[in-house]
């Protein structure tokens, strides 16, 4: 058995530790690790351990200490992981785009590796353009959130509306909470990803009917698959190909869909995230 293992072993790593935090865009998440473990193990010939976390910080820190080799990270944590511990993106996830025209949250049939954020207001609200947000209450996410803070703030600023200074920002946890707070009238607007209303559709059937999108932001790159620093070039390549292969099989596709609500993965490079870095810089200047 030992020799058989050794023969099928395709990388230098003794084992591969994977951790992921389900994307906040996912509208169904299954906390399952085993299926991916099996598929990857078959591809790489080494033991694979997949763990699921609910906090990005742990993934980044564990990659920093070498306890996690591969992490599934959204753009902002990725940029942090890269900056702090030299982690490298190898792949990016793909999703079907959102059919914005229909305003019902349905997908297009085109695979994309980006998404957008939007500014949500009540349908009958008097807020007609960015300037009207002045003095209004806006539900935002943590200042590290791309869709829930950085991109909308920067893009609105470009339109001459400094919400940090002129509006009342209320931090909520989760994009569903942002959407709900608008529906409930707790806030006048919310920064959510496109289209987080899908999350609350089940509990609030009128989620789309009662609301309206004020602005869409620029494109935000999708979630990453990132390797920690110190993995050899050859191994990186092998792992990248293995993941791609997995994503092409029927089984792999189904798992990606069920567990991560991804439609596929595509190769990526660090420079794809320069926009994110740029926005991060810009947001710091908006005071």
């Amino acid at each position: 058995a030992v020799t058989a293992d050794a023969a099928s072993k395709k990388v230098d790593l003794k084992e591969l530790n994977v951790q992921f935090v389900p994307s906040s865009q996912a509208d169904t998440i299954q906390a399952k690790a085993k299926p991916l473990e099996k598929l990857l193990k078959k591809q790489l010939g080494i033991p694979v351990h997949v763990t699921i976390s609910t906090d990005y910080n742990t993934v980044v820190e564990a990659m920093g200490s070498g306890k996690v080799d591969m992490g599934f990270l959204p753009p902002d944590p990725y940029v942090q992981a890269h900056k702090q511990y030299g982690a490298k993106v190898i792949l990016q996830s793909q999703r079907y785009g959102i059919n914005d025209k229909k305003n019902d949250g349905s997908d297009t049939d085109k695979l994309v590796d980006y998404y957008r954020a939007l500014v949500l207001v009540k349908k009958d609200s008097g807020i007609k353009n960015a300037k009207d947000l002045k003095g209004k209450k806006i539900a935002v996410q943590n200042p590290t959130s791309d869709a829930g803070y950085i991109f909308p703030v920067v893009d609105l600023n470009k339109k001459g509306m400094n919400v940090v200074k002129n509006s009342d920002l209320v931090t909520v946890k989760g994009h569903d909470q942002g959407a709900i707070s608008v529906l409930n009238g707790d806030t006048d607007a919310a920064f959510i990803f496109d289209d987080a209303r899908n999350l609350v559709k089940k509990d609030n059937p009128d989620a789309f009917k009662d609301t309206r999108v004020l602005e869409y932001t620029a494109k935000i790159p999708n979630d990453t698959i990132t390797l920690r620093k110190g993995i050899s070039k050859a191994d990186t390549k092998t792992i990248q190909n293995a993941m791609l292969k997995v994503s092409k099989t029927d089984k792999g596709k189904k798992i990606m869909k069920d567990v991560y609500s991804w439609a596929g993965v595509t190769k990526s490079k660090d420079s794809n995230f320069d926009t994110v870095r740029k926005y991060q810089k810009q947001v710091e200047d908006i005071k």
């Binding site: 910080n57 590290t144 946890k173």
Partner: protein, 260 residues
């Protein structure tokens, strides 16, 4: 005098029951160790890293968290108070030495178990879902949480009191409530107070979890500083909570002594 030790049955002599219990315990222990993959590998240098980064707190951040920490205290106070008020009648009804009716007690206890089974996370999430974001949700979650916890602590405290005074009051012809007022409350008052403060403290600390779900308070800031990798600010948040807890603790100790 030539006394010999009294004989005991074999099972008593060798503590068969006790030994079996210990054996069972050890087996569960080992099984759990296996299940959770406990090992000896531990990277101390990595372990200290965060602490080292926290060693240089960003003192300027203090001013930003004064309001949220005050909000946390308010939430904790209100939640604990409401929880305690609901808990008192329930704990009396659940105490074996107060309510002799096994069925009534059983029903009450089952209900209390149900309440305590609710994870704090779920409570917070549900309240956020219902009343929306903000301190109201936090207070709701803390109230239910405190209720479950305090009622159990209370009824157990009540069950351990010296029953002599209850007996004396019984002998005097006191009714149930009079017995409680004269013989039970004075004996448990001290413990009630310390459990109240204990829960208050837990509720202050629970703000970290509540913040995780957006139920207001200083927890949100803990979450933010962590996701920005600003451990120098995390340190400030922790210190702020520490100060509050030490104050609560100090009051608790002094009060317990004064009432002892």
């Amino acid at each position: 005098m030539n006394a010999t030790l009294p004989e005991r049955q074999f099972s008593e002599k060798w503590h068969v029951k006790g030994s079996l219990a210990v054996l069972l315990f050890v087996l569960i222990f080992i099984g759990s160790g296996y299940n959770t993959g406990v090992s000896t590998s531990f990277s101390w240098d990595q372990f200290w890293q965060l602490l080292i980064r926290m060693m240089h707190p960003d003192w300027a951040y203090v001013s930003s968290i004064i309001t949220p920490i005050a909000e946390t205290i308010q939430m904790a106070l209100v939640g604990t108070l409401l929880g305690t008020i609901i808990a008192i009648p329930f704990s009396l009804l659940a105490a074996r030495n107060i309510v002799k009716n096994t069925y009534l007690r059983g029903i009450i206890r089952f209900f209390l178990n149900l309440v305590r089974a609710l994870p704090d996370l779920l409570l917070a999430a549900v309240f956020v879902a219902i009343v929306g974001i903000g301190p109201m949700a936090g207070v709701g979650a803390l109230t239910i949480f405190s209720f479950g916890m305090i009622s159990k602590l209370f009824y157990e405290a009540i069950e351990t009191i010296d029953e002599g005074p209850i007996e004396a009051l019984t002998a005097v012809g006191a009714n149930g409530i009079q017995k409680i007022v004269f013989a039970v409350i004075p004996q448990v008052m001290n413990q009630f107070l310390s459990f109240f403060l204990y829960t208050l403290e837990i509720n202050v600390r629970a703000s970290t979890v509540l913040g995780y779900l957006g139920a207001g308070g200083v927890g949100l800031y803990l979450d933010q500083t962590l996701s920005l990798f600003r451990y120098d600010r995390t340190a400030i948040v922790i210190l702020a909570i520490l100060v509050v807890v030490i104050v609560v603790d100090g009051i608790s100790n002094r009060l317990r002594e004064a009432l002892a």
